[in-house]
């Protein structure tokens, strides 16, 4: 069994991102779509932290910076989840459905 290399982390990140993307494009339920965006976020976060670990292991300040970025992303995702879920609840109350297509007239 070989050591885990950068590629493996990247592959996991990419797979997470791809799953999220596919879900976002194909599913029409607003909550599922929102979850898919979260998946994409996590894929990116994994990628980011892997890059930080492999490239900046010898430079602590950059290493910590990369981890700080990831934490930042997580915090934003959390804040966003609070906001977005609240919005979705409001939207659901309006139309009694979670179908994204119900709101296509917002195109302006």
């Amino acid at each position: 069994m070989t050591d885990l290399a950068l590629q493996h982390y990247l592959a996991v990140g990419a797979i997470l991102f791809a799953i999220g993307l596919m879900g976002f494009v194909t599913r029409r339920n607003l909550i599922i779509m929102f979850l898919c965006t979260e998946l994409m976020f996590q894929g990116i976060a994994v990628t980011l932290i892997a890059f930080g670990r492999y490239h900046f292991a010898t430079r602590p300040e950059a290493f910590f910076a990369s981890q700080a970025f990831v934490l930042f992303v997580l915090v934003i995702a959390a804040a966003e989840a609070a906001l977005a879920l609240g919005l979705i609840v409001l939207l659901f109350r309006r139309k009694q459905t979670l179908d994204a297509e119900a709101w296509h007239e917002l195109n302006g």
Partner: protein, 711 residues
């Protein structure tokens, strides 16, 4: 000459009538309205006196220099821009003096007449204000020393003509006639204006005379540049267009018959005696630009002769008294144009002067008839008026004799000079003029015998007044009316204007006295220039005629012909050419005999068919019904103009308006619509509001970018 009071204070001649007009128009309102004739009488009277002193003062000048007897007076610079400079300035020469006397003298008589004729009119003060303005403009026209002043007067008299024709503005016919007069004249002015511009482009000035730098002087100098001689080919034609418009020559004559919608004194003053002769004045004044150009002179002659016979033929079938004289005026103006066209400017001006007298007389007499007949002018509805209007009958007889060219009356001499000159130059034109003279005498006396002789017939509603009237016997007199195929508009409205005169004296002395003066002029004005050519000699001192003769003589000499000086009034040449002159005289005398006979024959014909046996006229009408119908329709010229020019232009206007709203505005909106449209297209195609669609597009975009980066 400068010491003459009339020249030192020449500004008084035009400005007094203007002042009079202002007083009449602005101050004589309300109760003072009935006084409105006073400022005009006084101011025009003083102008007339000044003009006559000017004429007499000039006559007293014996030592005429070779270049002519003239005086230039500039008051101030009117329009200056760069090298262009037009001053308000006057030119005094014999031609101006004669024209001034005609304008102010006859103008004064007509204002006197008008006070009687227009009495009680609602627009009394307005009428006199217009008359004063007209005299102002007309004096400016004949006194000006440059083409811009001429243009000022030219358009100014056009304006007054417009206002006066439209005097009864409530009548749609008067309104349309006024507009027509102005617009047809504008067509002529279009040519005139271009002529002035071309003149300036070629000669750098628009003055007539002024120490050798005026246009009329430069045109005579031998040294012309290529462009200048080229311009001289075109100038006469452009100016001619203006002259044809103002003097109602074919094809621009159509406004003058309609102009009879104006009050009769106006028809007499503007549309017979003064304004319409402005074209003749202009061509005589700028003779130097014309006589060197054979094509132009032939055109003037042909148009003049054609107009003369054309209008005379229409006049023969008119039933409206004023319309007869309107067409007659057009015809007589044609004579004048032939006069200047065949190198006899003196004859042209001579006829202008005599015509001013007798045509003013005839129109004003018509006015008396109209006044008495409550506005009725249809000669089929009246007859034997000599019983009602005895004085007018004699007055109109004087005028008719003069117009018909009856021997030893003014029109005889002046017309004869023109016919002789035309015969001398182009015999064909002479024959045409003789035929026209026959027609003229016929239609004049047709009118006279119909209206004043025969049994008394009055239009309905007219009393015979206090005159002893014989028993009316209308049998047969009205038979002509059966064939009432003619299409003229009866001036219905005038009746209301004169309703109050029904039981008054039909011939108030205020109207008759000026007519007597005019009648004396109509009978005797011919002796101004015959047998001694006094008028000719005097006019010949005008620098315009001196220079014209110079050019004409050189041109004739180049063709190997000797030009007679008499038609130009050039005395100093007379001694040299006594032989030719006597030969001329013989031609002239023969012509006099011939035309006298023609006139007498035509009068006799008119006597037979319109006095003795009026039924013959009806028979004659049936015989030549087709020709008569053409004449009744006045050759359909008005209709052709209406259809071909007015309507088509108006249609073009409508079309352009549609284009304006649809195409031009449309194009501009298209420019504004483009961004909006682009936005709409994007919205419809990709911005449809499906979240997944946006996401897929984004992914696709990222992929494409990636591909580009990687590859």
């Amino acid at each position: 000459m400068e010491h003459l009071f009339a020249i030192k204070h020449s500004y008084l001649i035009p400005l007094l009538p203007l002042l009079g007009a202002a007083i009449a128009g602005f101050l004589c309102t309300g109760k003072r309205k009935t006084l409105a004739h006073w400022p005009i009488w006084i101011s025009v009277g003083i102008s007339a006196i000044l003009s006559i002193t000017l004429l007499l003062g000039m006559l007293a000048e014996h030592e005429a220099p070779k270049a002519g007897l003239y005086h230039v007076q500039n008051w101030y610079h009117w329009i200056s821009a760069g090298s262009f400079d037009a001053s308000v300035g006057f030119l005094f020469d014999p031609l101006t003096a004669v024209m001034l006397c005609v304008v102010t003298g006859i103008g004064f008589l007509i204002t006197v007449f008008a006070a009687g004729y227009m009495k009680g009119e609602e627009g009394y003060s307005r009428f006199f204000a217009y008359l004063g303005l007209f005299i102002f403009m007309m004096t400016m026209l004949v006194m000006g020393n440059n083409f811009l002043m001429l243009y000022l007067g030219w358009e100014g008299v056009g304006l007054c003509s417009y206002l006066l024709i439209g005097y009864y503005y409530e009548r749609p016919a008067a309104r349309e006639a006024a507009k027509k007069a102005f617009l047809v004249n504008r067509v002529g002015d279009f040519g005139f204006g271009l002529g002035v511009m071309l003149m300036f482009a070629a000669f750098g000035t628009v003055s007539y005379f002024g120490d050798g730098s005026g246009v009329l002087e430069l045109a005579t100098s031998g040294s012309l540049t290529g462009f200048q001689s080229q311009a001289l080919q075109w100038l006469p034609f452009l100016l001619m267009l203006g002259a044809f418009g103002k003097s109602a020559q074919f094809p621009l004559y159509v406004w003058l018959p309609d102009a009879m919608e104006g009050p009769t004194p106006v028809s007499a003053l503007i549309h017979a005696a003064t304004m319409v002769t402005a074209g003749v004045y202009m061509i005589v004044r700028c003779g130097t630009l014309f006589v060197g150009n054979d094509a132009a002179m032939i055109t003037i002659t042909l148009i003049g002769a054609f107009t003369a016979i054309f209008a005379a033929s229409i006049a023969m079938r008119q039933f409206d008294l004023k319309k007869v004289f309107a067409y007659s005026t057009i015809s007589q103006l044609g004579f004048m144009f032939v006069g200047v066209g065949v190198l006899a400017p003196v004859a042209g001006v001579f006829h202008l002067v005599t015509h001013a007298f007798f045509k003013a007389l005839l129109f004003l007499s018509c006015g008396v008839v109209m006044h008495a007949m409550l506005g009725e002018l249809d000669m089929r509805k009246m007859s034997g008026l000599k019983h009602v209007l005895p004085k007018t009958r004699w007055l109109i007889l004087c005028g008719s004799l003069a117009l018909a060219g009856f021997p030893f009356v003014s029109g005889f001499f002046s017309k004869d000079e023109i016919v002789a000159a035309a015969w001398h130059r182009y015999p064909v034109i002479g024959v045409v003029l003789l035929i026209t003279a026959f027609m003229t005498a016929y239609y004049t006396f047709r009118l006279y015998f119909r209206v004043f002789e025969g049994p008394l017939v009055l239009p309905t509603g007219v009393s015979a007044g206090h005159q002893p009237s014989p028993q009316p016997s209308p049998a047969g007199a009205d038979s002509h009316a059966v064939h009432g195929a003619d299409s003229h508009d009866a001036p219905a409205g005038h009746g209301t204007d004169h309703g109050h005169t029904a039981h008054h004296n039909h011939e108030p002395s205020l109207m008759i006295v000026p007519l007597i003066v005019l009648a004396i002029g109509a009978l005797l004005a011919g002796y101004l220039n015959y047998p001694a050519e006094r008028l000719g000699d005097f006019l010949g001192k005008s620098p315009s005629l001196v220079a014209s003769f110079d050019i004409a003589r050189q041109r004739a000499a180049a063709e190997g012909v000797t030009l007679a000086p008499a038609p130009f009034g050039q005395e100093e040449y007379r001694q040299l050419t006594k032989q030719e002159r006597s030969a001329e005289d013989v031609v002239h005398l023969r012509m006099m005999v011939v035309s006298g006979l023609i006139s007498a024959a035509a009068i006799y014909l008119a006597y037979v068919v319109h006095r003795q046996r009026r039924d013959v006229a009806d028979l004659l009408y049936v015989r030549v019904r087709r020709i008569a119908r053409v004449l009744d329709a006045k050759y359909w010229v008005d209709e052709i103009y209406q259809a071909c020019i007015v309507e088509s232009l108006r249609k073009l206007g409508r079309l352009l308006f549609v284009i304006d709203q649809v195409v031009v505005d449309g194009l501009v909106w298209l420019a504004g619509f483009t961004p909006q449209g682009a936005g709409f297209v994007v919205k419809v195609t990709s911005q449809r509001g499906y979240l997944q669609g946006y996401a897929s597009a984004m992914v696709l975009g990222v992929l494409i970018i990636l591909l580009i980066v990687v590859l």
